[in-house]
Symmetry: C2
DNA sequence: CTTGACTCTAGAGTTACATCCAGGGTCTAG
DNA sequence: CTAGACCCTGGATGTAACTCTAGAGTCAAG
């Protein structure tokens, strides 16, 4: 049913929504296997590569680095035990995101307080924002 | 009361909690003024530089870029009208942080759902995490 | 005076993730 | 057959904020 036909790099780039250069970059980085070639040297892909590219894009959206994605791809290919690894990595990512959110929240609250306390005019010495930045921690 | 004494780069690095190279880097980048020099060429600083370095560090912790910090430093030196600018920049930063938190929250929730749905074992085809990453978006 | 810690400069390297370029070959629609 | 779109390689470039190197000069303690 599916087209097992051969696709050029431009076509898969188009349908996966990534740049051609990015695909070659992923190949160099080992995220994509080396594809077969036409006699002319043109790379030939199939639909599977599109899925793989989508995988990479989604994982990146979830905040995984390319190194982590390489791992995920390896795990996803393991018939046995791969799923545990994937779940672990995902949980670790979730934890990292939670920590990042908490940290940003702290920063946000501190900044928000300073802004509320700042009259928005007057002398620099009276600006709580500037004071907070300069003073030897109260 | 304060020591107007001259401090070497190593000393201010120590007391401001930044690396020596970083100080020279900030100088090149215009975040710190060129200090006076001993005849030997050694840089000489005073306590004010330590405050300034602390300012930079704190602002960085709040997520300002060095470009933005350069602006803040300029604004903080303006006798008139600087405070408005500082407050504006701080508000913009707050907005950016809020947006970043919201984005991370979305990612977090998506990932969390996938993890909850994943049994943590079994075949890769049955792992919702892997499925979500690979499938042509439902 | 010697030793070891400190400082100087100019410039290159790092990380992560691409993105762009030149100079050339290939493919396909008309 | 030809124009224009597409693809190839190897290497350079970009961003942000440092970080490091080499080779040489300086300083303070003993």
């Amino acid at each position: 049913m599916n087209t097992p036909a051969s696709l050029t790099i431009g076509r898969i780039a188009q349908s996966a929504g990534v740049a051609i250069d990015t695909i070659r970059f992923y190949e160099r980085e080992g995220l994509l296997p080396e594809p077969r070639r036409r006699p002319s040297g043109y790379r030939e892909y199939d639909q599977g590569t599109v899925s793989r590219l989508r995988f990479i894009r989604r994982a990146k959206d979830l905040g995984f680095t390319l190194d982590e994605i390489r791992e995920l791809l390896a795990l996803s290919a393991e018939r046995h035990g791969g799923v545990e690894g994937v779940r672990e990595r995902a949980a670790a990512r979730l934890k990292a995101i939670d920590e990042r959110i908490a940290e940003l929240q702290r920063v946000r609250d501190g900044l928000s307080e300073l802004i509320d306390a700042c009259p928005g005019h007057g002398a620099p010495e009276d600006c709580p924002i500037l004071k907070a930045l300069t003073e030897p921690r109260p």
